[in-house]
């Protein structure tokens, strides 16, 4: 195994096009290679499906002791991983649905988040919990929740939500290197998203947003998969003369308010798009901070585009109404900018309507997940 320092020095000038799933797989391999104290554990990690391809091949490379399946015991195993983490190991846990992490709330909230603080910094919990948000093909009330605000409410937990493959890789490496617990939330629909990814090991700082498109009329701050929808919306808005600045927030906690404030100082308008519910959510939190810290920049009351305050209903008829899309973002952005929806606007919005059924990620998709 190459020494830590030689890997740290490794240059990452080359890049390749990858899917999010491939980038995550590479990140896990690099972390396991770099630091022998890293473990990868979760229901299905070494199985033929390899957590949507993100863990495929890793057991063969790194051995059954470090890459392993686990009993269906989410709370117990989380505590066991916390114990391993305070004892010199760096476990990465995976849940195929974030809904399963709910069973582990006691260990995450009472132990992982507080261990360092309550013991006055004498121990740390370098634990990463990958949680996948299900969407589509009738995942329904218990397999499609987007629970970032629940975790972000807890002091001591970092919560990140990368969207593009380069961020997925760099942020996963950073999460594993972090000495505190990180809830690493992957929307299921980011796994097929493709993009350029630098080769080799690199860390993308947690807690930093990234401006994905510059604009001067409105700031669209988006979380997770809503960034993709926001970028679609921005293209339509551009055709109508509205230049939207799209910020991929990437991280929920810490929340990069300064980047949003800088943008709002320029645009005067703010729309926040999140994959979670409306009430007591991440969108509301970001808006509240921007209003408190940047009230003078705002020329209109900020708006949010989120899920409704309802459990996810299964029937595919509701998918289009439950999940907000680029159309909702564009419509709200126009309103925000004081533009009424006339014929030209209608035409642009119509072009944004999804061409695939809203309960599947791409036209080639065949159910079930």
């Amino acid at each position: 195994m190459p020494s830590k320092s030689s890997l740290k020095a490794e240059q990452t000038t080359n890049s390749r096009e990858q899917s999010g799933a491939e980038a995550l797989n590479d990140a896990l391999a690099l972390c396991l290679e770099r630091d022998p104290s890293t473990l990868l554990i979760g229901e299905g990690v070494p199985d033929p499906m390899g957590i949507f391809g993100t863990t495929t091949g890793l057991r063969d490379r790194f051995g059954a002791e470090r890459v392993l399946d686990m009993p269906l015991s989410e709370n117990g195993l989380t505590g066991i991983c916390i114990g391993a983490a305070i004892s010199g190991l760096r476990p990465i846990m995976v849940h195929q649905r974030i809904d399963f992490a709910l069973l582990a709330m006691d260990q995450l909230v009472n132990n992982a988040a507080k261990w360092r603080y309550m013991f006055a910094g004498q121990a740390s919990v370098p634990l990463v919990v990958r949680c996948i948000v299900g969407r589509g093909w009738g995942q329904g009330p218990q397999h499609a929740q987007s629970l970032q605000s629940l975790f972000a409410h807890i002091p001591g937990l970092k919560v990140v939500m990368p969207v593009f493959p380069d961020d997925a890789k760099g942020m996963l490496c950073a999460a594993v290197a972090d000495d505190d617990p990180v809830i690493f939330i992957e929307h299921r629909w980011i796994h097929p998203v493709r993009g350029e990814v630098p080769d080799g090991y690199f860390e993308t700082p947690l807690g930093k947003a990234r401006v994905r498109r510059e604009g001067r009329h409105i700031t669209i701050a988006a979380f997770s998969f809503m960034t993709i929808e926001a970028l679609h919306a921005a293209r339509a808005l551009a055709n109508l003369g509205i230049e939207a600045e799209v910020i991929d927030m990437r991280s929920v906690s810490p929340l990069d308010v300064p980047t949003v404030l800088r943008s709002v100082a320029k645009t005067g308008h703010l729309l926040v798009a999140d994959t979670g519910h409306q009430s007591f959510g991440v969108a509301g939190e970001l808006i509240s901070r921007v209003v408190r810290q940047g009230f003078d920049h705002l020329t209109a009351a900020p708006v949010s585009v989120t899920l409704p305050d309802l459990p996810c209903p299964t029937s595919h008829v509701w998918a289009a109404h439950y999940y907000p899309t680029a159309v909702d973002i564009a419509e709200q952005a126009l309103r925000q900018c004081g533009i009424s929806i006339g014929e030209a606007e209608h035409r642009e919005l119509e072009k944004l309507l999804p061409t695939t059924p809203p309960d599947i990620p791409n036209p080639d998709y065949r159910g079930p997940f």
């Binding site: 269906l72 009738g138 218990q142 409704p308």
Partner: protein
């Protein structure tokens, strides 16, 4: 030949299993149309557990289950058309389209709910048994779950409370040796599952879950004991899932289960075995079997037609049922 002839008591177990098998085969076939847009876990090969246990229950007894629930729902008398409609996301579905295959309910039939978080319904079923005791209802609860669920802490908390209060409940563990692609031996140490239940203070039976008569007998005895105040009962039923974990197909080409084990279990088809038993007793003729198949097929065809021709839920229904009134 009239329906009654092929539905005599001797034929009842066979007919119920065959019905579940044919319904699920029809679901599997039509799933490819991509109109049932929800995850679906078939119990093909495991019909004897559902049929044997529910045959020992009274109509007023209650059943809870998890993600692989079609057989339990149907065996308890859950409405077929409403189940199919639910899979098609129709407003006439048993959850009005909110649930899909993984969320079934037919309270009139005593099927009180199935949900897909592993272990989720376990304490709920114990709570129902507690209510039966406190309200003096004489009702027995049957709870179905898998070998994977046995690893969830909540199951052990629930068994402990049920034993402490001597509650009238059957814990029915369908041990099919796998949780998704992971073998039992990679998840639990070498020791019998029912042994742990016994250590919790439950009365246990451990048997071939593909022998419907044996299951019915064991379940009848356990139900009798539970009803007469002897406390919680535990059945470990060994069985085998024939199809993939989730979805309509066969997935043995992935190589996670040995072909020998698969072949051995296919040879122990619960339906085939019951047919042989009845033939051996001269209780089943080819004509009776043929009529049984035809009757079942007719029921299935009508149920699919009725289910599919029902409307999709109106958009505004999405907002209903979050709170009372």
């Amino acid at each position: 030949m009239p329906e009654t002839t092929s539905n005599t008591n001797e034929h009842a177990l066979l007919r119920r299993m065959l019905r579940i098998r044919r319904i699920e085969e029809a679901l599997a076939k039509r799933y490819a149309e991509q109109e049932m847009r929800c995850p679906m876990h078939l119990c093909i090969g495991q019909e004897a557990t559902a049929v044997g246990v529910t045959a020992a229950l009274k109509k007023d007894d209650h059943v809870f289950s998890g993600h692989r629930a079609h057989g339990h729902y149907l065996a308890k008398g859950g409405d077929l058309t409403r189940m199919i409609a639910e899979l098609y996301g129709r407003v006439t579905g048993c959850c009005e389209g909110r649930g899909g295959s993984m969320h079934l309910i037919d309270q009139a039939a005593g099927f009180m709910g199935s949900t897909p978080i592993v272990g989720g319904t376990v304490p709920v079923a114990v709570g129902a048994a507690w209510a039966s005791t406190l309200r003096n209802e004489g009702r027995v609860i049957a709870l179905f779950f898998g070998d994977g669920c046995f690893e969830e802490g909540v199951l052990h908390e629930s068994m402990n409370f049920a034993a402490l209060h001597q509650l009238p409940i059957l814990f029915v563990c369908e041990n099919n040796d796998y949780a998704v692609y992971t073998a039992l031996g990679d998840r639990q140490p070498q020791r019998p599952i029912h042994g742990i239940a016994a250590a919790h203070g439950l009365q246990t039976s451990n048997l071939d879950g593909n022998d419907v008569r044996a299951v019915q007998t064991a379940a009848a005895e356990a139900t009798q004991r539970a009803r007469s105040g002897e406390g919680p009962q535990f059945l470990e039923l060994h069985t085998w899932r024939w199809r993939e974990h989730c979805g309509p197909d066969i997935d043995d080409q992935l190589g996670y289960r040995s072909p020998e084990a698969q072949a051995a279990w296919l040879a122990r088809c619960p339906i085939q075995r019951e047919q042989e038993h009845l033939r051996g007793q001269k209780l089943l003729t080819e004509t009776e079997l043929h009529n049984m198949e035809r009757n079942i097929q007719q029921e299935i065809d009508i149920a699919f037609d009725t289910a599919i021709s029902a409307p999709l839920p109106p958009v505004e229904n999405m907002h209903r049922h979050l709170h009372a009134q």
